[in-house]
């Protein structure tokens, strides 16, 4: 397998090239612009067979993707932040019409104040839109996940967004283990739909008005489809690891086996957290990390069982919910643990908004505080902020 030095954006664009979708409709936005540019060049150089639709907005990008997917095409796009927000209306329509497609998303904060750097408020803002959401720690994961996302999405008949952290990953070079073009094609197989607008001899209506007598059943079916996503992610991940030796589940457990305190993180911060965990271990603190990969659907049963022996948990959220009850991962995990016979102590650290850096020493400090919480059983501050001037 060839190894290439690629940035996160290049890695995602490369995956798109190898996937060779029927239609890509996209609009540029920092820090995801490169994905669109690189792909446009692949089209111009004849390296893909894709119809590239250089739309005039993200709303139209996703609308065109919806049209193309309904026509039976394999469809992809890329965006970030304001772009994802502008797609918001169409995100629900893509998932509600059960159309498979993949967004290569680059995490960036939501304006205002305007800022182009990383946090997860864009993707978290669309977490209830019916899309499968996969976060990536680094470029390799993003590359691998984009390829898997095609299979997952097409099998589940639900759209999927794979995200990586803006600038931190999108613009940083990393050695990527690539699959060959043939391997990717073999892995994703041909896109098949049971029905489509362009199906011959069968006029098909999609997007009908669905009133009180049917809407609820269709939504219920959509929820069921989401419930069925986890086994699909598992089996696709397994098959992928057979070829690549790179295993993918719903989350990664790092030194969690014998740990009694646990940090939860998603995205690039997980890499930083791994360094911190080592340091904490050197200090004799039995810390572990659960790196969440799949945010939607939320693999709550699996997470709860992975945390069975944990006495205290610190959730690192790179976005906040304005409920004032903490960040989205914190809130969901707390709810997931409700039925557990033992309730670990839980704290939430909001960090990195608008691209504020987080360092291993910050996370070591979190670990030490968490160790203290475990010892004393006392939580002074349930929700705290890392590195912010109060």
């Amino acid at each position: 397998m060839p190894i290439k030095a690629l940035t996160g954006n290049e890695a995602m664009a490369e995956a798109m090239r190898q996937i060779n979708p029927d239609v890509v409709a996209a609009y540029p936005i920092t820090p995801a612009t490169e994905v669109v540019q690189l792909f446009a060049q692949f089209v111009a150089d004849g390296k893909v067979d894709t119809e590239f639709v250089a739309v005039e907005s993200e709303h139209s990008a996703l609308s065109a993707c919806i049209g193309a997917a309904a026509a039976g095409g394999r469809v992809m796009t890329s965006t970030a932040s304001q772009g994802l927000a502008l797609m918001h209306e169409m995100l629900y329509i893509a998932s509600g019409l059960r159309l498979p497609m993949v967004i290569c998303e680059v995490n960036r904060s939501m304006s205002a104040p305007i800022n182009i750097h990383c946090d997860h408020s864009d993707t978290m803002g669309s977490r209830e839109s019916g899309w499968i959401q996969i976060f990536s720690e680094d470029s390799q994961e993003a590359y691998d996940s984009v390829i898997q996302a095609i299979r997952i999405s097409e099998q589940a008949f639900l759209p999927c967004m794979v995200s990586l952290d803006g600038f931190i990953i999108s613009h940083c070079m990393q050695g990527i283990n690539e699959l060959t073009d043939t391997e990717v094609q073999e892995f994703i197989g041909e896109h098949k739909t049971p029905y489509s607008l362009l199906m011959d001899g069968h006029p098909f209506t999609i997007g009908a008005l669905d009133l009180q007598d049917y809407f609820f059943e269709h939504k219920r079916a959509q929820i069921e489809a989401m419930e069925n996503v986890l086994p699909i992610i598992k089996s696709v991940g397994k098959e992928f690891s057979k070829r690549t030796k790179r295993g993918y589940g719903f989350f990664e457990e790092y030194m969690l086996g014998d740990a009694d305190i646990c940090l939860i993180a998603l995205g690039s911060c997980a890499g930083t957290a791994k360094v911190a965990i080592q340091e904490l271990r050197d200090k004799g603190i039995k810390a572990g990390l659960l790196k969440l990969r799949v945010m939607r659907p939320f693999p709550y049963k699996e997470i709860v069982s992975a945390l069975f022996n944990i006495k205290a948990i610190a959730v690192l959220d790179r976005s906040t919910s304005m409920s004032t009850m903490g960040g989205p991962v914190f809130i969901e995990l707390r709810s997931a643990l409700y039925d557990n016979p033992v309730h670990p102590l839980m704290v939430n650290y909001i960090y990195g908004l608008g691209g504020r850096d987080i360092f291993p020493r910050d996370i070591v400090e979190v670990g030490q505080k968490l160790e203290n919480i475990k010892r004393t059983g006392k939580i002074e501050k349930m929700i705290d902020y890392i590195g912010v001037r109060e």
């Binding site: 029927d22 239609v23 409709a25 067979d49 894709t50 119809e51 639709v53 250089a54 739309v55 005039e56 907005s57 709303h59 139209s60 990008a61 609308s63 065109a64 993707c65 919806i66 049209g67 193309a68 997917a69 309904a70 026509a71 039976g72 095409g73 469809v75 209306e89 169409m90 329509i93 019409l97 607008l197 362009l198 199906m199 011959d200 006029p203 098909f204 209506t205 999609i206 997007g207 009908a208 008005l209 669905d210 009133l211 049917y214």
Partner: protein, 256 residues
Amino acid sequence: MEVVSTIFPYTAWNVPYIHSAFENSAATISGVEAAYKAFKKKGKIKKKLNFIAFGGDGGTYDIGFQSLSGAMERGHDILYVCYDNEVYMNTGIQRSSATPMGAHTTTSPAGRVIPGKTQFRKDLTEIMTAHDIPYVAQAAPSHWLDLTRKVEKALSIKGPTFINILSPCPLGWRYPPSQTIEISKLAVESRFWPLYEVENGKHKLTYKPKKEVSMEDWMKLQGRFRHLFTGKNKNVIKDCQKQVDRKWEKLWTLQS
């Protein structure tokens, strides 16, 4: 359109049909057409297919304006049909940029100080012409042969085409439904809604009005203009007439 033609589990369409949202039929069909092109290139589809998008004046002149402009500029092989009833009817008679000056709507109501809509309508047909697409036309249901000929012509032309069809609306314009065709006819005769086409940049009138019908003649049949016939509001009718004359003159020079 989806509201009347596709109430699940029924559909009135005997051809493939998609509705995705209100403001994006041009962008949605761009995607369908792009997928078609991709399949053609790969030999998965051989048949020639027509792609037609529909939008009301609200979905076309206003909220879908950008989506339409983008699709036209990109040159998709599609026909976009605007059924222009000069008002948002789905939500209950709100003004659009296609609403004529003076018309009462629920968001441009005629009141004690404001006599209905205070702006002229947007000339979308000419804006589409400015996109330099191969075919643009204006049509009306009263002249149905002209209308069907325009649709056939648009479909025979490769590239983006646009037809703006005046669609008189009894409820929104306030007249008895039996007068729909008459109102459409008078809109054409009064030169308020000229029937013309623009093929490769060349304007051509497809019908030359025969009768002298004034804006007043046309407006008095419609309840939405009722308040203009009292007191100083009559000036609005004059302004409308001036605007129609000015635009007609311009069109006349363009076509000759």
